[in-house]
């Protein structure tokens, strides 16, 4: 068997799988390689939020497309990916955050996003269980929502397989070299030749890039999450509390409440272990906003990585090595960016030009990484 491909995609998370999906629809001969299994990294650990409320114009435009693509998945895959528009409700407890919201809403309105500043009374109507003490306002977009990451990946895998894409799973890349084409050596001795390669390995992208001499300004951070038992549906939107000791959580369509917080200070490095302090912290933060969650049972708590860049925007581009593409540094937004990013990336890989202005996500922009962040 000869392992020659037009495109080899390293990393079977949402970015790699979405790109592979769109490439496979164009009849490109491709392989997806993962050191574990599809969704074993950050995508399989994320909480499935989808929002268009960004401050960066490129991110907003990308997310508008993603929302559209999420809404088409059920029809394309033949099963439900639990996409649901419950909205995103961002909460301001101080003037500075409110000013930030007002500024962002202006940018979002220019992009025709249905978002508005809402009062504590409106918030009470949106989420009757919420404790509005200290809340001065919120930003609400009803078109944001959620989907189930495992199901989305399963759908992509189904179609990629139907389109004769190959998978090399449980097989780590040990060597990546560029000669005329790229040659990839896997852990079990398998050799793969590809004309083009995409690195979409999230937190592992920096290490992988080093194999071909790329110094990518990416640094992983640990984020933890938890999920409760199923409960009757009692609130719709993702609630984001922007205080330094805030959190973000939503209720899935099956009734489970799933939530996270951003630790201050951050926890650098590729770490997927659960900490002792997380559950008491998240329980306190979530019940402060919705006191009735006190009687909800926590089922499970886990951790995964955000892959950060110095400016919080992703890196999606062709690297200085011709034919070697990078899509990483999603900074916590990989799942929601994924569908649109995969679509654009696939086209870029095939045609060499973007359908949208991606200057803000270019590998050539100035990105200085702090040594502290690489610990």
């Amino acid at each position: 068997m000869s392992n020659n491909y037009e495109v080899a995609i390293i990393g079977g998370g949402i970015i790699g799988m979405a790109t592979a999906y769109y490439l496979s629809k164009k009849g490109i001969k491709l392989a997806v390689i993962d050191k574990k299994y599809i969704g074993s990294g950050s995508t399989g650990r994320c909480i499935g939020g989808i929002r268009q409320q960004f401050s960066n114009q490129t991110a907003i435009r990308l997310m508008k497309q993603s929302v559209e693509l999420f809404s088409q998945m059920e029809e394309e895959f033949g099963f439900n990916v639990e996409f649901y528009k419950g909205g995103y409700l961002l909460l301001a407890h101080d003037k500075k955050t409110e000013q930030e919201f007002i500024k962002n809403i202006k940018i979002q309105h220019k992009e025709k996003i249905n978002v508005s500043l809402v009062s504590p009374d409106d918030i009470k109507k949106l989420v009757p269980h919420v404790n509005t003490d200290g809340i001065i306002s919120g930003a609400f977009c009803p078109d944001d929502g959620q989907a189930f990451p495992f199901a989305v990946l399963r759908g992509y895998k189904k179609i990629i397989t139907e389109n004769r894409g190959d998978f090399f799973l449980r097989n780590q890349v040990v060597k990546l070299e560029k000669n005329k084409n790229f040659s990839i050596m896997l852990q079990d001795g398998t050799k793969i030749e590809a004309e083009k390669v995409l690195l979409s390995t999230g937190p592992w992208t920096r290490e992988l890039g080093k194999k071909v001499g790329l110094d990518l300004p990416l640094y992983p951070e640990r984020h933890e999450a938890m999920i409760t038992e199923r409960m009757p549906k009692f609130f719709e939107p993702m609630i984001v509390d922007y205080r330094p000791d805030g959190c973000y959580f939503h209720q899935l369509i099956n009734g489970q409440v799933i939530g996270c917080y951003t630790p201050v200070p951050n926890v650098p490095g590729i770490k997927e272990d659960a900490s002792f302090e997380f559950l008491p912290n998240i329980a306190w933060r979530m019940t402060r906003l919705i006191p009735s969650l006190k009687n909800a049972s926590v089922l499970r708590h886990w951790a995964g990585c955000y892959t950060m860049t110095p400016d919080g925007n992703p890196i999606i581009d062709e690297s200085e090595i011709k034919g070697l593409y990078v899509a990483s540094g999603m900074s916590g937004h990989g799942f929601m960016f994924g569908p649109a990013m995969g679509k654009f990336m696939a086209k870029f890989i095939i045609e060499g030009k973007w359908d949208m202005d991606f200057k803000d996500f270019s590998i050539k922009r100035s990105l200085k990484i702090n040594a502290e962040q690489l610990k």
Binding site: I38, G44, R154, A283, T287, N295, S297, L299
Partner: protein, 87 residues
């Protein structure tokens, strides 16, 4: 009609669905979980775990001892949020 055999009671997953997932490439409990949601309900895999191990072993011609256990996720059993915040 063939009778449905429920393997995971929390998430209503049948034996046929598990076998189909194994035939389409899943080789571990963690992969089954990511395809079928098995082990993610209230019992956290205590009921379905041993059955899934035997199905994986049978379908993959392995000794059940070779099938790796779930990643352990705290708090292991459902715990009310208020327990974590009580003084």
């Amino acid at each position: 009609m063939k009778e449905k055999v429920i393997v995971c009671r929390c998430e209503d997953v049948t034996e046929d669905e598990v076998i189909e997932a194994i035939q389409s490439g899943a080789t571990t409990l963690e992969e089954l979980k990511r395809v079928l949601r098995v082990g993610m309900g209230s019992c956290q895999g205590r009921t379905c775990g041993p059955i899934l191990v035997s199905l994986l072993a049978r379908e993959l011609n392995k000794n059940p001892k070779e099938i790796k256990q779930w990643n352990k996720r705290p708090p292991l059993k459902p715990v009310h949020m208020k327990i974590f915040i009580e003084e």
